[in-house]
């Protein structure tokens, strides 16, 4: 990595479902499991609340990576929400890949309320991957850059 990249801190938006992943993030906190401060969490009732527009919006506004966390398939608080998420995001991410957007900038991860450790390790890993890609250039909106 170049010296430039050592300075670079990626901005990561994490959408977390209220019932599993947000609680998982809370548990990571309770257990003092560290992950980079670059990760900012937005609480949604269910992963299926996340509209592809929110993800693109994050990139437009300067995010370098977007991760979506929900209950494990089969464990959705609303029974079926994450099954739709899984299809929607599979399709959306495949389309972004098709447009030549780096596929490592997006991720879906299932994190239960009990998986504080998984939450932290997922965020550490994702932040590392995104950092290695460097700033998001392919879905940026120059008007939102300083």
């Amino acid at each position: 990595m170049s010296e430039l990249n050592q300075e670079y801190k990626p901005l990561i938006v994490a959408f977390c479902c209220n019932w599993c992943s947000y609680a998982g993030a809370d548990l990571a906190g309770s257990n003092r499991l560290a992950y980079p401060a670059d990760v900012k969490i937005i609480r949604v009732p269910c992963s299926c609340r996340v509209n592809p527009m929110f993800i693109l919006r994050a990139f437009q506004r300067g995010a370098d990576g977007v991760i979506l966390c929900g209950c494990h398939p089969g464990d959705c608080h609303y029974t079926t929400g994450n099954y739709y998420t899984r299809r929607r995001m599979s399709m959306l991410f495949s389309m972004l890949d098709y447009l030549g957007i780096e596929r490592e900038r997006t991720r879906v991860e299932w994190v239960s309320a009990a998986e504080g450790a998984k939450f932290a390790s997922t965020m550490n890993d994702f932040a590392k991957k995104v950092a290695s890609l460097g700033p998001n250039k392919r879905l940026e909106d120059l008007r939102c850059k300083p």
């Binding site: 901005l11 809370d26 906190g29 309770s30 609340r49 509209n51 919006r57 994050a58 300067g62």
Partner: protein, 665 residues
């Protein structure tokens, strides 16, 4: 424009240790709409809440942001605070700067920076918040209890005691459940039947309790306060209202070779049967799998001997639908299959039995009339080996057994060992254990008595294998304390099989949209604070369907669930969650994408007349959401391409405002 107040909590040093709370409060003062910003040691304390209340009044705040611990912790608290100060409780947003900031970041600089950003996001969201008023729905004042074991019976009795009608649905021909099969109960050794059967009779005689035995729940719709439940009453071919339970038919039935499930297949019953003498309802049932009349049309003996004329070979399954305000799940447990543990020779020898089978063998109403005899040859066993933790505490990667501790085995094994030594002092009894777990009132004393007074050999170690050899069972085990390998020629081996939730629980959970853990135990709304409620509103948990439990625990949980149900049924109306979806009819195209993804069937469509420009009208199909049914997941909002469907409390523009605020640096 909102007038927003920001309240940054130190949480002692929990937040203030890694986040410069004062700097956060100062930085957020600069955000648009913020007219007041402060920090305090404990915002959730009375003094902290007073700060909030005073600020709302003094600065005429229209929205507040509390930067504190997780909203899962104190969102409700601060909403109440706001409401007390006259602010709509949904004008409160929490920025989680403890669990998701101060506790996970070590560096003051980045922690503070992130806390400011999280605060900004909450402020951005609050700008777009609108006061929400929860809807109300009426409560059907009747409860349903699914499962008629001791848990279900106790819950039903308590609910009925409070004056509410309650129905019990039980799949077996009789209520009573596992407890009816037990001989004695630990740690007092009173007889299970003596304490259970009076309760069964109470339930049967209580005017407010209706028992649907030999029945199952086939469909559930609706929501808390308004469940519509379809109950399938399986045809028992005996009219319940006419049968007197005299039992004559069960003596005359020529089909004698039916394995008796009540005695776990250790003896037989007839094709028409009453499970046991104290069954409730005491009504005969014809087993269609074995009845010659039902299978070939030839026989009819039971009909001939029945003086009450109760036999009806033409009976069909019936479906009844009833409205309930609350549902209690009490589906109980079963011992796991011993198939995967063949090192213990369960399938090779009749003399290797499970503990539940042992209960039947020692029960006076059991296949041996209470005499402890070997199932293989009916001889009295002189050397008995009990093996604990069979299938419990297994690692998931071992792919057999369960990861959890089944909790009740230590105590019932002590009970079995003690009773054996008590009745048959000439019998040598070994118990192989990994740990002996006896937390419970008078539990450890009980176990110590087995060792000290009754001379049971407790061996720390596990049985490696059991090999049938002639009439004996060669048990190879380790004694870890003495550092020996033991070889015991036992007459009987009793396995303390792990317990698992009843198989009916999983499909039931799907019908109820109640969540389960990976072991198929029902999940409670909160493991500590709401242990008898399911996260699905209106669904409550009683007994071992929620996790392994002994009788006293089951009964106390059953009563707790009943108390929750009574609390619910006492209300005339329920206040709903206002964070539900709603459709903007002007934007809705009626395409049904949203209804396709709604797990609750909360969305319906109607043709509606719209006033169009130039004085025309148009009939158009539009969606509407039943706010009492909607649970607020938001699946519909993404299925809707036009954005007609939006979710109160988590609106599209609110989430995007959060995104914008987070990315703004």
């Amino acid at each position: 424009m909102q007038r927003i107040g920001v309240f940054v909590c130190w949480c002692g040093s929990n937040i203030a240790g890694t986040v410069d709370v004062h700097a956060v409060a100062e930085a957020l003062k600069n955000e648009s709409g913020v007219v007041f910003s402060t920090d305090y040691q404990y915002m959730c304390s009375q003094a902290g809440q007073d700060i909030i209340k005073n600020a709302i009044a003094e600065h005429k705040l229209t929205g507040i942001v509390v930067c504190s611990c997780s909203p899962r912790m104190h969102e409700a608290t601060f909403r109440k605070t706001a409401a007390a100060a006259g602010l709509n409780p949904y004008m409160v947003e929490i920025a989680n700067i403890r669990e998701q900031c101060s506790w996970v970041h070590k560096d003051m600089l980045s922690g503070t920076e992130k806390a400011v950003i999280l605060g900004r996001a909450a402020i951005a969201k609050v700008h777009l918040n609108a006061p929400l008023i929860p809807g109300q729905s009426p409560v059907a004042k009747r409860a349903l209890v699914i499962g008629g074991g001791i848990a279900g019976i106790q819950t039903a009795l308590d609910i009925a005691d409070a004056g509410f009608p309650v129905d019990i649905v039980e799949t077996k021909p009789t209520i009573g459940g596992k407890m009816a099969q037990l001989d004695k109960t630990f740690p007092t050794l009173d007889c299970a039947a003596c304490i259970l059967t009076p309760k069964m009779v109470d339930a049967a005689q209580n005017e407010l309790i209706k028992i649907y035995s030999y029945s199952e729940v086939s469909q559930v719709s609706g929501y808390v306060g308004n469940f519509d439940v379809t109950i399938k009453r399986r045809a028992r071919f005996v009219k319940e209202d006419l049968c007197t339970g005299c039992g004559l038919c069960t003596e005359k039935c020529p089909q004698k070779k039916v394995p008796n499930e009540f005695n776990l297949g250790m003896d037989t019953r007839r094709a028409i049967y009453i499970p046991f003498a104290q069954a409730v309802p005491k009504v005969a049932t014809i087993d269609p799998d074995y009845c010659t009349m039902l299978k070939t049309g030839k026989c009819g003996i039971c009909s001939k001997v029945c003086t009450a004329g109760a036999i009806d070979y033409t009976a069909k399954d019936e479906f009844i639908t009833e409205k309930y305000g609350a549902i209690v799940v009490a589906t109980g447990y079963n011992p796991i299959s011993m198939e995967k543990f063949d090192e213990f020779a369960y399938s090779q020898s009749k003399d290797v039995i499970t503990s539940l089978e042992f209960e039947r063998l020692t029960n006076a109403a059991g296949p041996t009339a209470g005499k402890l005899l070997r199932p293989s040859d009916g001889e009295h066993p002189h050397k008995i080996v009990f093996v604990q933790c069979v299938g419990s505490r297994c690692d998931s990667c071992a792919e057999k057994g369960k990861e959890y501790c089944s909790k009740i085995c230590c105590m019932y094994t002590a009970k079995h060992a003690m009773l054996t030594r008590d009745k048959y002092p000439d019998t040598e009894v070994y118990v192989f254990y990994i740990d002996v777990r006896t937390p419970g009132k008078a539990f450890d004393e009980f176990y110590r008595r087995a060792v000290e007074e009754y001379g049971v050999h407790y061996v720390k170690g596990m049985v490696g294998k059991v090999v049938p050899q002639g009439k004996k069972l060669m048990v190879q085990a380790s004694d870890l304390i003495d550092g020996k390998q033991l070889h015991i020629d036992a007459d009987l081996v009793v396995l303390a099989a792990a317990i698992e939730p009843d198989k009916s629980a999983r499909p039931l959970a799907t019908m109820l949209t109640a969540s389960m853990d990976t072991n198929d135990f029902f999940t409670e709304a909160h493991p500590k604070l709401r242990p008898v409620e399911s996260p699905t509103a209106g669904v409550f948990l009683s007994g071992a369907c929620q996790g392994p439990k002994d009788i006293p625990e089951t009964v106390s949980q059953a009563s707790a669930a009943a108390a929750k149900v009574i609390g619910l049924l006492c209300k005339d109306h329920l206040t709903g969650n206002p964070c539900v979806a709603s459709a903007n009819e002007m934007l809705c195209s009626g395409c049904s994408q949203c209804a396709n993804v709604c797990p609750y069937g909360a969305i319906t469509y109607s043709e509606k007349e719209f006033r169009m420009p130039n004085r025309t009208t148009l009939m158009r199909r539009v969606a509407s959401v039943n706010p009492a049914v909607c649970q607020g997941c938001g699946a519909c909002t993404v299925a809707c391409p036009s954005g007609a469907m939006d979710l109160n409390g988590f609106k599209n523009n609110q989430i995007m405002a959060e995104v914008d605020a987070i990315c703004r640096n």
